[in-house]
Structures are given as C-alpha cells and as structure tokens.
C-alpha cells in the first residue's frame, strides 16, 4: 500500500467534505446539481484508487457503475427535471449561512467522535477518512432539513447516499458487487419516483415548496 494512494484518498475525502459544506451554503439549484456531479466524480476517483491500491478487480466495475449513474445519468435526470419544472434559475432563501456552518462544525466533531471506535476496528486502507464520510452523511441530512423546496431535498438525499457509499468504500475496501448493484438500482428508482412525485406536487400546489405538504395532515 503506497503512501501516495492514502494521500490521494485523504485528499478526495477532504474534497468530499468541502463539497458537502458548499452544498449546505449554496442557494442556487443549478449549482447544487453541479456540486452533486462533482461529488460523484470524487467517488469514482476514490473507488478507482482503492481498486488500484488493493488490486480488487470488481471495484473497477463499481467505479464504472458509479460514473455512469452518478456523474451522467442522475445529473442528466435532474437537469431534465429542473428544465421541465422550470426551476433552473431558482434561488432558495436560506436561514443564515454562518449559523448553518457552525452547526456543520458541530456535526463534524460529532461524526469524528462516532467514527473513532469504528475506524480502530477497520483494517481498510482509508479508515482515517471514515469520520469525514460520516460527517458528509450528517451534513446531507442537515441539508435536507434546512431546505424547503423539493429538488434540493432530493439532491440532499442523493448526497447522503454518496456519503454512505464513501463510508462503505473507505471502511471495507468496497462492498460486494451484489450489494452495490442493489444500491445503485435503488437510487435510480428512487430518483425516478421522486421525480414523478415532484411533478405531482407541482400539479397539486403549483409550487415545489414542500411546506405545502403540511396541509395534507389530518386535523
């Protein structure tokens, strides 16, 4: 195991974390999709490096799959959705960004604290980055909480999956192919279903603001 690949994985982990922070402080929907695509590219690179470093052939396949799905297919779908919904240039009002980032810092601390015992058990080459992966998951969850429009929420959900994927790659040197295919299919179907949902929400309320869903509850 060369020092270089560990360094590269560290670098990619940092990039992923930074992209997560960029996502929670990004107002434009279009930029969010770009950031998501970048996250996908980071994941592909990580998987490829792990594959190269550990010599596991099937990880290359996984990297290819991730590339097809997260760099090409899903962003394409998202682009189409925002075009069709005509929200390409939408800007969302956010609560104060510094506050979000301070909460983000706390989440990072919590994530590292949680990851420490797991990382000790792991024998993987990239265990040092487990905390970062966990932090990305938590940050994506927070992003979903703070958004009120549907598309950013879906992106939050997808980026959460990215964090999980990274955690899996980092802590176990990659998952078995069957699991990976399953997850990939799940994500794809998830996006499709959510896309359909969004059109329906839009038809019903003439807006993608999911606060309207509050009206659906029984009194």
């Amino acid at each position: 195991m060369s020092g270089l690949s560990i360094q590269l994985i560290d670098f990619l982990a940092a990039l992923l974390l930074m992209l997560s922070f960029a996502m929670i402080s990004q107002r434009r929907i279009l930029s969010l999709i770009h950031l998501f695509t970048l996250q996908g590219i980071t994941l592909v690179a990580t998987t490829a490096i792990v594959a190269h470093a550990t010599g596991q052939e099937h990880l290359y396949l996984s990297a290819g799959l991730t590339f097809a799905l997260k760099v090409i297919l899903i962003p394409l779908l998202l682009h189409r959705i925002i075009d069709r919904l005509n929200v390409r240039w939408d800007v969302e009002t956010l609560i104060n960004i510094p506050t979000l980032m301070i909460i983000g810092i706390v989440l990072v601390i919590v994530a590292f604290d949680l990851a420490l015992p797991i990382a000790k058990l792991s024998t993987s080459i990239a265990r040092g980055t487990l905390g970062i992966a966990l932090a990305c998951v938590l940050l994506s969850l927070m992003m979903m909480i703070t958004r009120s429009k549907a598309v950013p929420q879906v992106i939050g959900f997808l980026s959460l999956e990215n964090g999980l994927f990274f955690a899996a790659t980092a802590s176990t040197n990659g998952m078995p192919m069957v699991v990976e295919l399953g997850i990939a299919l799940d994500v794809l179907v998830g996006v499709l279903i959510l896309g359909v949902f969004m059109f329906h929400i839009r038809e019903q309320f003439e807006s993608l603001d999911i606060r309207h869903l509050e009206r659906l509850k029984e009194d």
Partner: protein, 315 residues
C-alpha cells in the same frame, strides 16, 4: 547574522518594494484582457505613483497629524510585512522578530491607522469607509489567523520561515486541513486586498466602495504612499499564499546566489498567481455589502474546520 543573510533580507525588501506595483499592473492587465477591454501598460502603476508623488498634497483644513502620519505608518507596516514573509530566502534576520501571529497583527495595525485617518476629516464617506473596513477586518483577521494556525500545526512552528523550510523539505504532500485553509485563504485574500466579490478597486460608487471611501481625502504623495502600500499588501498576501501552499523554490540561505536562483521562480509563481486572481475576479460578481460578513464568516469557518480536521486526523 551573516553578510549573506543581511543581503538576502535587503534584497527581499527591495524586491518587494519594486515588484509590488508590477504585480498590481499584471493583475490589472489580465483583468482588462479577460474582460475584452484594451489593457493598460504593465508599468501603469509606476507611472501613477510617479505622477502622484509629483503633485502637491491637498489636506483638509482641520486634518490632524494622525492624518498625515497614517500613510507612512501604513507603508511601514506593509514593508515590514513583506520583509518577514519569505519570498526569496528563508534566511531572514528580521523574521524572528515577528511570526505569523505578529504578521496578522501588523496588517491589523495598518488597518487601524488608515481607518482612524479616514475618520479624521469627519466626512460622511470617510467614516463609512472606516466602518466597512473594520467590518471586513474583524472577520478576515481571525480567518487569516486560523489559516496560519492550520499550517503551523503541520509544520510545528508559527515562524513563517520555519514553516517554509519544513514544508519544502517534506516535498509535495496533501493535507486535508491545508485544502480547507487554502480555500479560506483565497477568500480572505480577496477581501483584504479589496478585490471583486467584496470590494471593487475600479469604482467610486458610494454604495459599494470600501477601500476607496477610506482614502477619499488623500491626494498627492500621501495617496501615492497608500497606493504603494496597497500593492505591497497584495504582494505580501501573495507571498504568504506561496509560502504556505507552494513553498518550493525558496532559497534556504545556502549561498548568496541561491537567492538569485529563487527570483525567477518567485516571478513565475507570482505571474501565475496574479493571472488566477484576475480570472477569479472576472468570473465572480460583486457582493452586496451585507453579504460580505457571510462571505468572510464562510472563510473563517472553513479555516476552523481545517484546524479541526487537522487535530482530528492527528497529523
């Protein structure tokens, strides 16, 4: 303290004083080109300085000595800052007198004086500029400090020269914290040097200007000194950025000639850095003044995250 280190120190200061306006000219030229304007000459800042030095200084009737002294103090601070940032050599006799923290203090001292001087005349614009400058400062300073801390924890020293030596010896390495610090530093450097997302050096529109509002009452040689100091500040920031993130190619005091080898490397690095700055300025839009604290808070928090990650990963 040998003759070699003394000469390196002298050269460091002289190069900074001479090259700083050139760097400003270079950035302005590229900015104009990227924006499809016809570019001013590379030597334009020198001509400006020469012109201003020749003109007489017009002072307000009730200007106090503080107003007249501030440009000199500002230039003194910036020169000293350039003297302790290792751009050419790490064998600088002045460097131990001020480490990274003192460097931040030095910038703050300059800011304090120029802000006070702006308030001295008692015009609406002056006080407005002073307030905005301090607003930028109080967020940018801690952010810069955190950036420096992230790197000094890796190098195990707050002295800039030692940081450069240790990082350069280590060879290229990627640290998570340094990435965060790098992004934060870029944001801080843009804000501190009155660059586009925060301030526009080319405008005199009262709603947007910060730096220009500060120096509105200055003219003649005082204005020249301030312009020169602003160039030096940009130079110093570039120097800090290069020292922290690209420390290779700086002489470590082996021989007097090593400094001369370091000079072309420095010019190359500065040319690339200046070009990137111009690109950055061209692709971004000016922020509203109330977005500026948000912008700087982001820088500050990124730097803090960098330090946290550094501590957490146990480098």
């Amino acid at each position: 303290m040998s003759a070699a280190s003394l000469s390196a120190q002298f050269l460091d200061i002289v190069i900074a004083l001479l090259l700083a306006p050139l760097l400003t000219g270079w950035v302005n030229q590229w900015r104009a080109r990227l924006q499809n304007r016809s570019a001013p000459s590379l030597l334009q800042p020198y001509r400006l300085l020469h012109k201003l030095f020749h003109k007489e200084s017009v002072l307000a009737e009730h200007a106090s000595p503080l107003f007249r002294g501030a440009p000199y103090i500002l230039l003194g601070c910036m020169t000293l800052a350039c003297a302790i940032v290792p751009t050419l050599s790490t064998d600088l006799p002045l460097a131990p007198a001020a480490d990274a923290i003192a460097l931040v203090g030095l910038f703050a001292l300059g800011r304090l004086f120029i802000s006070l001087a702006a308030m001295d005349i008692g015009t609406a614009f002056g006080t407005l500029g002073a307030r905005r400058e301090m607003l930028v400062g109080f967020l940018a300073e801690p952010a810069l400090l955190m950036v420096l801390f992230s790197v000094s924890q890796i190098a195990g020293s707050t002295s800039l020269t030692t940081i450069v030596e240790r990082l350069a010896d280590q060879g290229p390495a990627i640290y998570t914290s340094v990435m965060f610090a790098g992004v934060a530093f870029t944001l801080v450097a843009l804000a501190e040097n009155a660059r586009i997302p925060v301030d526009n050096p080319a405008t005199h529109l009262e709603l947007t200007m910060i730096h220009e509002a500060l120096i509105l009452e200055y003219s003649g040689r005082h204005l020249a000194l301030i312009e020169w100091a602003a160039s030096l500040k940009l130079f110093a920031y570039s120097g800090i950025g290069l020292a922290l993130f690209f420390p290779w190619g700086v002489s470590e005091g082996q021989s007097p000639f090593a400094v001369l080898y370091a000079l072309p490397v420095l010019i190359l690095k500065l040319a690339i850095g200046g070009f990137l700055l111009a690109v950055l300025e061209t692709i971004s839009a000016k922020l509203r003044i109330f977005r500026v604290p948000e912008f700087l808070a982001t820088a500050f928090l990124l730097a803090v995250i960098g330090m946290l990650v550094n501590n957490l990963q146990g480098h």
